[in-house]
Subunit: 195 residues, 2 copies
Amino acid sequence: MSRDLLYELIEALTILPGVGKKSAQRMALFLLDKNKDGALHLAKTLEECLAAIQRCEICRQLTSETVCRICSDESRDSYSLCVVESPSDVLAIESTGGFKGRYFVLMGRLSPIDGVSPDDLGIPDLLRHIQGAKIEEVILATSSTVEGDATATFIKDHLEGVKVSRISYGIPIGGELEYVDGNTIARAIQGRIVI
Amino acid sequence: MSRDLLYELIEALTILPGVGKKSAQRMALFLLDKNKDGALHLAKTLEECLAAIQRCEICRQLTSETVCRICSDESRDSYSLCVVESPSDVLAIESTGGFKGRYFVLMGRLSPIDGVSPDDLGIPDLLRHIQGAKIEEVILATSSTVEGDATATFIKDHLEGVKVSRISYGIPIGGELEYVDGNTIARAIQGRIVI
Ligand SMILES: [Zn+2]
Ligand SMILES: [Zn+2]
């Protein structure tokens, strides 16, 4: 039996989240038959991105640069800082267009059981960052899970002289930000309450 | 604003069929954060496949080899030949596991209005191939559209001394093979009728 990369490509595509065998087949044939230029661009961009990907040295978001696009955007408001759990939360909030401040990505949430400590989440860096920069408001957008709430409370308890709010109504209890629609996220940010 | 390949990758992923902005974001972060090895393998395989992709010189299926995996598989029955419209139809029938013969991919269907002639579909090659090989049955699996039926009739009318059948009940009228579930396709192949 010949090697036939067509089948290897279909197999390779099934690693994508939400992509089964049938979708992978459709994608493979589309890439090879209908949009070769787009396919080549996708392959090259993925390779380049994998080689360059790192954490932004300011906010810890994934980026191909030393400083991410958001942190290096001078037009953004640097007085409010939104603290989130994961890179996808940044993209989810950005897609609403309703927030023009900066972010800090914890890359997780406090969990003594799983051994996730404040140090693991870069919280000391976060606290130093908040004192050092001229931030006036910290918006805690960690998830509405027990650990997400505990993480928010921990950060709030270690901050002084700065307004601290928690995003509020709209986000379903136990829900993950990345699966929530943009309007709900935008409303939750507008309706945040000082805690 | 920095270049930040993360956003270029998200954009590049939205060319995939069925993938919107939100899915593309999820895919990009998954590839860059959760499965870098799989991501690199995907990029390399896609590039290699794009450079090598061609039509099988026997059946016209897309393949990275001169002769595709199915045509070069000696264990398959070479007495029955299934004629389909597109590469995805081959994959759809293969996924049922119910057919062990060979294929011929027309890459379209007859359409005088759109200027698609028998020559464009390689039908002269197909007829020569059927006479030359020891094929006993030709299964016409073109779509149940007006053009698909006309294509099947045209091929049948140009064949002699060979059993010709048309896949039958199960395929919804006007339906495309690739969107039909495996059981329905398998039943349609079993229930084919000589025409
Ligand atoms: Zn950043
Ligand atoms: Zn072949």
